[in-house]
């Protein structure tokens, strides 16, 4: 949220290119949302005009459409299917190459080459998702070196939300619509100017290099008001009051059968989720059997292999798998990592091909089970 005015500057829309230039001069490749195939995806941007000026997104369960916004906002599009996840936890990461020698073998880690990347346009929910992934991948003594290397080279420019999608519910998760920490710079887009706030020393450096005027208290008030109204305009909310306990109690709820009838077990929801971290590993040997590459790939609790243990699949049905996903996301995640696995971005709702909405499924699961009502005591 926009706070200390001494660390907050004003950049006119017309001068936005200067931010791109300063980041480039500091050695960052700048990446931002770029219109592609009916949505926005992270791509390298060199000019302000590469950004989705004059577009906005409409999202609903199973449906995404871009439309002309009728204004010239630069960040009118809230988000596309990608969170920040692909930057630090990549869809496929080569981990090792293993090579045979005469009587032995050698394995060589293939750490990613560090390339400074500045990501322009992350939303508060994305920043919260990244913080959760940090908690998972950089835990205590078990920091993942691949994630760490990529994470260290990221510079995050957040954009506070002033327009809520129908699928957003970050306000009910306490993760947005304004970013409060975990960014290097945070922008708030007003009518003709951006307010820019620094959230790290690297961010301060950029802010200094920009040499812009400090914001006025009135501008800060305006930004705050726009962010608050975005929160109030959110129509979805997740009922977190009784979590995690209520979901554990709902383990045998009749509603799981209902959602299993709709779910395709396609895994799109876990792929687009900023916090899902499951992965599998695969080997790619060459034909001579002398060399192999060991890589990890995004996986999901919706796949067959994910539930396969010692000759048996412990989650053979779609019901088992959907229950795994929702229970992990909203309940056991809290036991595991101290906070919900959901940051309220709404991506799993939009990008589910059949429009399954976890907020509605949770509401149904918190109501008494039909089966339990009919046969008291039976689970």
């Amino acid at each position: 949220m926009v706070t200390a005015s001494d660390r907050c500057g004003v950049l006119p829309h017309a001068d936005f290119q200067r931010l791109l230039n300063v980041l480039t001069e500091k050695g960052y490749r700048v990446v931002g949302p770029v219109v592609r195939d009916g949505s926005v995806m992270w791509e390298t941007v060199e000019r302000t005009a590469d950004l989705p000026i004059g577009w906005r997104d409409q999202q609903e369960p199973g449906r995404y459409r871009l439309e002309q916004s009728g204004d010239d906002r630069i960040f009118g599009v809230v988000h596309g299917p990608q969170s920040l996840k692909p930057f630090s936890f990549t869809p496929r990461e080569a981990l090792l190459t293993i090579e045979r020698s005469k009587n032995s073998f050698a394995s060589v880690p293939t750490l990613p080459k560090s390339e400074k990347v500045a990501i322009l346009g992350a939303r508060a929910c994305d920043v919260a998702g990244l913080a959760m992934q940090d908690r998972i991948f950089l835990r205590d003594a078990y920091a993942d070196p691949y994630y760490q290397a990529r994470r260290n080279s990221m510079f995050v420019v957040a954009v506070n939300c002033t327009r809520a999608l129908t699928t957003c519910f970050c306000a009910s998760m306490g993760t947005g619509p304004g970013a409060t920490s975990g960014f290097d710079l945070a922008l708030t887009e007003l009518e003709t100017v951006f307010l820019i706030e620094a959230g790290s020393s690297e961010g301060n450096d950029i802010l200094s290099a920009l040499a812009i005027d400090p914001s006025s208290p009135a501008q800060i008030d305006e930004a705050e008001a726009n962010i608050s109204s975005c929160a109030m305009n959110q129509t979805r909310r997740l009922n977190t009051a009784e979590l995690p306990g209520a979901l554990y109690e709902a383990h045998e709820h009749s509603h799981w059968d209902d959602v299993a009838g709709r779910c395709l077990a396609c895994a799109n929801c876990t792929m687009v989720c900023p916090t899902c971290f499951c992965h599998t590993v695969e080997e790619t040997p060459d034909l001579t059997g002398q060399r192999t590459e060991h890589a990890r790939l995004w996986d999901s609790c919706f796949t067959q292999d994910h539930g396969y243990i010692h000759g048996k699949n412990i989650r053979p049905t779609i019901k088992d798998r959907y229950r795994m996903w929702l229970t992990h996301k909203l309940a056991s995640w809290i036991d595991q990592f101290g906070a919900s696995g959901c940051v309220g971005c709404g991506r799993c709702i939009t990008w589910c091909p059949v429009g399954i909405d976890l907020t509605e499924e949770l509401s149904a699961l918190l109501k008494p089970s039909i089966r339990t009502q009919q046969k008291p005591g039976q689970v």
Binding site: D37, G62, Y64, L287, G289, V354
Partner: protein, 283 residues
């Protein structure tokens, strides 16, 4: 074929032992999958060194008799003659792998299963009595035991190479049965179904192609067949009913269009077959 997995033994295996013998056989098909083998280009040379390519008429005139260590079968069974030929071939094959939708699922020619083949014969040939043809196109697994199935129309050449590499190394090939969507998302595509409203079969189609079609902005038409519970082996039957409902109610496809989505290259596989027949009853 199983080698010792101790380091160092491998090299010896390649130089001193006889190379495993490969046979490639064709049944009712278009040759496309065999062409995928030829398209391996550089890897083809390595393959020729690792294997003794004993029978592969599409590639070489030297056709040596069996038995073979690895037999690749392209095509489905559509004639009484082929039904007998596959039984004999199975006896010559230590490991039998079907390659492509025809061999694995009956192929596009299985559309005849819903039609009257006799009337086709009468319409096309002046003397239909000479045409020996079965009323159905069936996959190889309907006739003999199949060790591994490679889906796709055509197959993914990288997947084939991978399976042969695994067999040479003495490990069981790992073939993912996940949805195309997973690979589609890994590749960073925008979902064509959600963003453009086209009826993509990716959610119920098995991975393997690298999500080619959505990467080119079009909908998957299911050429790799249904996901895990396809027809053989353990696993979950894909939820084709929910996807079909979405096509009809969300994307406004009329029932006959839903039938056509599921009755394509892999239309004869049980889950897709049941779905197309259910929607045919609504037309």
């Amino acid at each position: 074929m199983a080698e010792s997995d101790q380091p160092g033994h491998r090299e010896e295996a390649h130089t001193n032992r006889a190379r495993p013998r490969l046979g490639v056989f064709r049944f009712a098909s278009c040759d496309g999958c065999q062409l995928s083998i030829l398209n391996l280009e550089d890897d083809l040379l390595a393959l020729g060194q690792a294997l003794d390519i004993a029978y592969f008429p599409e590639a070489s005139s030297g056709m040596k008799p069996g038995p073979y260590d690895i037999v690749l079968v392209e095509g489905s069974i559509t004639t009484p003659e082929d039904a007998a030929r596959i039984l004999a071939l199975r006896e010559q094959a230590a490991t039998l792998i079907t390659i492509g939708a025809c061999a694995t699922a009956g192929g596009i020619q299985a559309l005849r299963n819903w039609a009257d083949v006799e009337s086709f014969k009468r319409a096309v040939y002046p003397s239909p009595q000479y045409i020996q043809s079965l009323g159905t196109s069936t996959p190889i697994s309907a006739h003999v035991q199949v060790d591994f199935e490679l889906w796709g129309c055509p197959i993914d050449k990288g997947q084939l190479l991978r399976v042969i590499t695994d067999l040479l190394a003495g490990v069981r090939p790992r073939l993912f049965a996940d949805s195309v969507c997973i690979e589609c998302k890994r590749r960073g595509n925008v979902c064509v179904m959600v963003a453009s409203g086209v009826p993509c079969l990716g959610p119920v189609t098995r991975t393997g192609c690298g999500a080619i079609c959505p990467s080119m902005g079009r909908d998957c038409y299911g050429c790799f067949g249904p996901t895990e519970g396809a027809r053989t082996g353990p696993g979950l039957p894909p939820n084709t009913a929910s996807l079909a409902n979405r096509f009809h109610q969300g994307l406004r496809l009329i029932p006959i269009e839903v039938v056509r989505r599921f009755r394509g290259i892999n239309g004869a596989v049980e889950s897709f077959k049941q779905e197309s027949e259910a929607w045919e009853r609504k037309t």
